[in-house]
């Protein structure tokens, strides 16, 4: 019996969907961001003559990497996209709007069961709402813009069962880091489906956090079967009916992996490798220079709320610089209207405009050599966020580290 990805693919393909086979796939939602977008345009102009876009109503640009552009390169590339978009009737979610993969959910353009692609390697984040999303390079995306189709090798699916419930305080990020550690090397090029009591407890924001790090696990996509909250959200936003795709009971998984989460607690990935995950409390005392809260992994409202609650009425440690970047303008607005911005400001943090921010040398700056940064992002490969050493952790751990001035978990703070 088919797995979730196989069912979604079969609904979008005339070819027979079989694991390991290459099929042609109809793509419902086609996007390019400021990163790669100009190259998509270039590919289209070089390879076709007019008539570049299969369906403008399904095609979008989303600018998020560097928003607003702070390098001439990004500024030029964004303008190339804008002009192409105007000429071809494509809507642009410009630098004001936030991270593209989140904007398409907020806008109701992505909903359960669809297929979507973008020039963003974390576009598989849409697994959080039970949709197929995939990041691709600019040649692939140009081809999809033009034809509405893409080729794809049907990946096998691995079923991940989370066993037990943690008794210690945990966050979705700690769960995601645990998965990167446990699944790295076991899911390369495969789809994942996540199940277990802990999944049922995850909010939409938590699901986004988990799904966003499937890329770091090496997987193609991680599906989290939608619960009531997700279905309601997507219905409200998309204003349409959709079929929710669940796997059959005896779906043909390549393998099942059980992960015990009963001892889950605050975790942290050591600099240079998202899979080098340790317990926060096992770390020696490490002085922190800067803290970044944001990214497609942890730039959600709940993440911001968690940090604001911890920081409210307090001051971050002296000599710590804390940068906060909400994922989207919608989240920014809520933070503003609910007074969170004031709380964060008073605590000494910098709250920046929405987008990817500090994740990939974006608008909020980078780290310098020797700088120790605690980041809520998803990657800490050498050089990605600058020359410094970046640790990956939850917003909770990040906020506590900002307050104490060294990397610290939840048990090291008085409430």
């Amino acid at each position: 019996m088919p797995t979730i990805i196989e069912k979604i693919f079969q609904k979008h393909s005339e070819d027979k969907v079989e694991v390991g086979k290459e099929i042609w796939l109809d793509v419902d939602l086609r996007t390019a961001r400021d990163f790669g977008g100009a190259n998509v345009v270039k590919n289209l102009l070089e390879n076709y003559e007019g008539n570049y876009i299969d369906d403008p109503s399904k095609t979008f640009f989303t600018f998020d990497c560097n928003a607003p552009a702070n390098t001439i390169g990004y500024a030029n590339n964004q303008q190339i996209c804008r002009e192409f978009a105007r000429q071809n009737g494509i809507k642009v979610f410009d630098v004001d709007r936030g991270i593209g993969s989140h904007v398409v959910m907020e806008e109701g353009l992505a909903y359960p069961g669809i297929t979507a692609v973008g020039t963003d390697s974390h576009f598989n984040i849409l697994g959080a709402i039970g949709a197929f999303g995939q990041g691709m390079g600019d040649i692939d995306i140009a081809f999809v813009f033009k034809t509405g189709k893409t080729w794809f090798e049907v990946p096998p699916t691995v079923k991940v069962n989370f066993i037990g419930m943690p008794s210690a305080p945990w966050t979705a990020k700690d769960l995601a880091l645990l998965c990167v550690k446990e699944l790295k090397g076991k899911v390369l090029g495969k789809a994942i489906e996540f199940y277990g009591e802990i999944i049922d407890k995850l909010t939409l924001d938590g699901r986004i956090t988990l799904a966003s790090m499937v890329t770091e696990m090496g997987g193609i996509i991680g599906f989290i079967p939608p619960n009531k909250e997700v279905i309601e959200f997507c219905k409200n936003r998309s204003k349409r009916e959709f079929e929710i795709i669940y796997a059959d009971k005896d779906a043909n998984y390549e393998k099942e992996i059980d992960i015990d989460v009963s001892k889950l607690e605050p975790l942290i990935a050591m600099p240079g490798n998202p899979a080098n995950v340790k317990r926060v409390r096992d770390l020696p005392s490490i002085k922190v220079d800067s803290v970044f809260v944001g990214s497609c992994t942890n730039g959600r409202y709940e993440d911001m709320k968690m940090v604001a609650n911890l920081l409210k009425g307090k001051k971050i440690a002296e000599n710590v610089m804390m940068k906060i970047v909400p994922a989207t303008r919608e989240i920014w607005k809520k933070m503003l209207y609910e007074g969170m911005i004031k709380d964060l400001f008073d605590a000494g943090a910098i709250v920046s405009h929405c987008g990817c921010g500090g994740c990939a040398s974006g608008q909020i700056g980078m780290t310098g050599r020797g700088e120790v940064q605690v980041s809520t992002s998803n990657r800490n490969f050498k050089g990605k966020q600058g020359d410094g050493d970046t640790y990956l952790a939850s917003p909770q751990t990040a906020a506590i580290s900002a307050l104490t001035g060294y990397i610290a978990g939840v048990d090291e703070i008085e409430s």
């Binding site: 086979k21 090798e153 090496g218 040398s361």
Partner: protein
């Protein structure tokens, strides 16, 4: 299609071991992402990979790269493929590839081949090898030293056509 590919090899290794998890920032750092000219991209191939920063100066047209597991993991940037094409790299053999990287390479007509046992093939930097794309055999001095996984249907078709756009015209 040229069914035989031959060339001089570069084993991307550290302390005698093929490097695993070479990500797209090590291949082509994000600070050069605004570059649109492929010739220019060639200058930065591996420029953020310790010990291999001089690769663009050492590589020659027609060379073959050999790497470890999960080559090209990370971001979806096409630059990380284009920089090798611009250098004239003919093929990359790795134990495994990041999924997006593999697609990007296939679509651009850069030959990417998976070979789990490539480190057991007893090859040294500067050796010449010959790859038979039909049966996957890798030969050195006429002797088979390893075997790659066969290419898929679409991969073969795109490679034959040159790249994805050329292939699409033939559909």
């Amino acid at each position: 299609m040229k069914l035989k590919v031959e060339g001089r090899i570069w084993k991307i290794e550290k302390e005698g071991k093929l490097i695993d998890d070479i990500d797209t920032d090590m291949i082509y750092h994000n600070k050069y992402l605004h570059i649109l000219d492929k010739k220019e991209m060639a200058k930065y191939a591996f420029s953020n990979l310790e010990g291999w920063q001089d690769f663009p100066k050492m590589a020659r047209e027609g060379d073959i790269i050999i790497a470890g597991e999960n080559f090209g993991c990370g971001s979806s940037r096409q630059h990380a493929v284009d920089c090798f094409l611009a250098l004239g790299i003919k093929a990359i053999i790795a134990k495994s590839f990041g999924a997006i990287y593999k697609r990007n390479a296939i679509n651009s007509g850069l030959l990417v081949l998976e070979c789990k046992d490539i480190d057991k093939a007893n090859l040294k930097n500067g050796d010449y090898i010959e790859i038979n794309l039909e049966n996957g055999e890798i030969k050195k001095d006429g002797k088979v030293v390893a075997k790659t996984k066969p290419m898929g249907r679409v991969q073969t078709a795109i490679y034959k056509a040159g790249n994805l756009f050329a292939y699409a015209k033939s559909l």
